[in-house]
Amino acid sequence: MKAVFKRELRSYFASPIGYVCVAALLALYGYIYFQVMASGSSSNISALYASMFTFSMMVIPIITMRSMSDDQKNKTDQALLTAPVSTISIVTGKFLACFFVYFLASTLGLLPAVALTFFASPPWGMILGNYLGTLLYGGAMVAIGVFVSSLTVSQIIAAIVTFAISVFLMMIDALTASLSNTWLSAVVSWLSFQSRYTPFTQGLFNIPSAVFFLSVMAVFIFLTARKVESRRWS
């Protein structure tokens, strides 16, 4: 797991992908901070993170698109799968590497808030809540992206499908309003990433939501491992 994690992470930063993804997210963080603080003269840090929610959604598919598909395409999966390690640890290593890129961007995204402490006292509770929410939401999206990437050898398809899924998960809220069946709408809203994410933006550490996101990660890592193993039987 460690070997795979190290290799994957190295490959993100040996190619421009890692830098571009982190830089793009950081630039947006910086810009929106500026917009919210200076132009909007607002201290509502959650407005910043609400925008970042959308941007992360766009960047994560780019981070995860190559994770599994590349190995399959270049046949390097033969080295991984014939090595004495379990499939789940290979997949976990890959997931962690993708997540780390995202983690790096999110954590560096706290810099503006840190800078602010020299001049004022920003609401750290709320900032950390948002930060944690971003990580949890991002982790779940990364796991889904890694899974989608294992379904195809094409990076482009992996990116587009992951993007479509994340847009769908964001819009699912709107769907609940139009559903007449209360039972169905309850299920849909239960699945909604946005409604799970919202408590964090208020600076609350919502345990059910955290468990929800962590479970999504676990389920999709597991599914990816099953998918990779199923290839042996096809």
Binding site: A3, R7, S11, N74, A79, P84, R232
Partner: protein, 357 residues
């Protein structure tokens, strides 16, 4: 060391492997020979655990690949058909990564250095794999398989893409490795198999069609055991004298090929070697022997015969099978004739017919 039992692999309706069984002893180099798409790579992928068989089992030093995958994988070094290289890494980074991935116990620096020396990749050690030539990539692939010094090496077409000098080097390397490793290698280059392997498995359409020691396989599977002799002697007399020899069944003259020199074909019992008595006879008579040639099949003829699907060859093959069935096990005990009998062949044809129906 490596035992494969009744391996069958089905891709949808397509049978990639049909009931393949063989056993490889420790310290032997076995060559897997067969045309493209015969099932060589599939077999190798199953042994290494990359694919799973539809039925059948693989054990490596007594351990089953399905029950103890990680234990078995530790025992095997595998070079797939396309070396599994990360093009964005340098050779150094890649070998270190594979070292970690394979959980190798040997001291890192020393072990990797040794392997680089063996495979002669020291001078590209710090270069990006993506910038290496095909030959060097192949060698890095071999180096990767050697990491951890596994007792079993499985090499899928190890010399593809190498120049003639490199091919010789790699063959020597494999021969050396064969002294203390069990090596299974595949190739469709006959001379290579002949040069390196002690035993040959010929596979065609997912079935093993021949299995035997490299030196004797062609002889054992030949139906033609004629010797062609050129001798400076009176034609008639020579034919009569040779016919009198024990085990000789038929002598024919092909006529005068050079002034005073006749070409004779000598047929003998399949298991008898008449060369010595023949030589003694000619010496006694004072007839100089100008040449003596064995008409056994070459490995190439054999390969074409075994793997051809033409009907003409099919008939020949069936004759061959009968001939092969009568072959006794040689002194080395290496000759195992695993040809399906004519009955089995027809049974399979019926099965095929049913499937199609």
């Amino acid at each position: 060391m490596v035992e494969v039992k009744n391996l069958t692999k089905r891709y949808g309706l397509n049978m990639a492997l049909k009931d393949v069984s063989f056993k490889v002893e420790e310290g032997t180099i076995v060559g897997f020979l067969g045309p493209n798409g015969a099932g060589k790579s599939t077999t190798m992928n199953i042994i290494t655990g990359y694919l799973s068989a539809t039925s059948g089992e693989v054990t490596v030093s007594g351990k089953n690949i399905l029950d103890e995958p990680n234990e078995v994988k530790k025992l095997i070094g595998y070079l797939p058909e396309q070396p599994p290289l990360y093009l964005d890494m340098t050779v150094r980074e890649y070998l270190n990564f594979m070292y970690d991935l394979k959980k190798v116990k040997q001291p890192r620096g020393k072990h990797i250095k040794e392997i680089c020396e063996i495979t002669k990749i020291e001078d590209v050690y710090n270069r990006l794999i993506g910038n290496l030539s095909k030959g060097y990539r192949q060698r890095v692939g071999i180096a990767q398989a050697l990491l951890g010094n596994p007792p079993v090496l499985i090499l899928d077409e190890p010399t593809v893409g190498l120049d003639p000098k490199q091919i010789i080097e790699i063959r020597n390397l494999i021969t050396n490795l064969g002294r203390n490793h069990t090596v299974i290698l595949s190739s469709h280059i006959l001379s290579e198999i002949q040069a390196v392997c002690q035993r040959i498995l010929v596979i065609n359409h997912g079935q093993i069609v021949a299995d035997g020691a490299t030196d004797t396989l062609a002889h054992d599977l030949s139906s033609d055991h004629r010797l062609v002799l050129r001798v400076e002697a009176p034609e008639r007399e020579a034919v009569h004298a040779i016919r009198e020899l024990e085990h000789v069944t038929e002598v024919q003259s092909f006529g005068e090929k050079e002034p005073g020199i006749f070409e004779l074909s000598v047929e003998a019992d399949p298991n008898a070697d008449v060369r010595k008595p023949l030589f003694a006879l000619l010496a006694r008579k004072g007839w100089p022997m100008m040449s003596l040639k064995n008409m056994d099949l070459t490995l190439e003829d054999l390969f074409l015969q075994l793997t051809s699907t033409d009907n003409v060859y099919q008939e020949e093959k069936e004759q061959e099978q009968q001939a092969a069935a009568s072959v006794q096990i040689g002194p080395e005990g290496m000759v195992e004739v695993s040809e399906p009998s004519a009955e089995e062949v027809t049974e399979e044809k019926e099965e095929k017919g049913e499937e199609e129906a």
